[in-house]
């Protein structure tokens, strides 16, 4: 099943919301060394969806770049990720919750890496782009599994 922006907009602390089969949600504090958890979730969901090794690596990097594109150097708040995996495609929503402003130095990167992120996402996924809700912003990507015989 796919997730709509309205569903994703829901309160992440609402523990009464029913779980959805095939959907994995990860919430991490905005700390640079926690992005590894987003990558780990990406590779786990991709493996469960029977993506091959190259597709798993592609999704791992794409999710990392998706998070960076949402954070834009912010250092306070939290990132909420939602992975919706099927045998044919994986859709990932990444939402920033917090009031911090973008930082120019982007966790100490030397160069403006937005262009690099865009090129990486263009090459690795089928769709990507920003999403906006009431008081929050984020990004979404979709990667389809390459059809294979057998």
């Amino acid at each position: 099943m796919s997730v709509t922006a309205d569903q994703f907009h829901g309160d992440p602390d609402d523990s009464t919301a029913p779980p959805t089969a095939g959907v994995v949600e990860v919430t991490v504090a905005v700390e640079s060394d926690l992005l590894v958890l987003a990558r780990l979730a990406a590779s786990t969901v991709a493996a469960r969806s029977s993506f091959d090794i190259e597709e798993i690596e592609d999704l791992r990097l794409a999710v990392d770049e998706l998070c960076l594109s949402v954070l834009q150097g912010r250092r306070v708040g939290r990132l909420r990720l939602r992975f919706d995996g099927t045998p044919d495609e994986i859709e990932v929503w990444c939402r920033y919750d917090g009031g911090d402003e973008p930082a120019d130095d982007g966790f100490g990167a030397d160069e403006d890496t937005d262009g690099l992120s865009g090129r990486i996402l263009d090459a690795l996924v089928d769709e990507h782009g920003p999403v906006f809700g009431d008081g929050w912003h984020g990004s979404r990507l979709c990667k389809r599994r390459v059809a294979r015989d057998g």
Binding site: S32, D64, L68, G106, F107, D110
Partner: protein, 113 residues
Amino acid sequence: MEQAFGVSEGTRDGTSIVTVSGEVDVATAPAVRDCLDQVIERDAGVVVVDLTGVTFIDSTGLGVLIGARKRCADEGRDVRVVVAEPRILKVFEITGLTELFTIRPSLDLALAA
């Protein structure tokens, strides 16, 4: 098992070598930048960045390499990169950075370039 992140520097035949291993991302790229800054400031000539042991690199890691290249280019110096892992080379290819850097599959070939 994933290789742990590490960055170190040394020289061979007078050429500065920065060796990086593990995952280069937003958390670890600043350490790579600090090491490169130190080497570029202290030494003269070519800088070789050996990424043979790198298992993951994202745009922040690439940004650090681009920054180092710019600083060296301002002084007429070259930055060469060693990439042996196909999935790391793929990141350079899709970002167009194979046109910007001299990339070789081994340290020996990078030193000889």
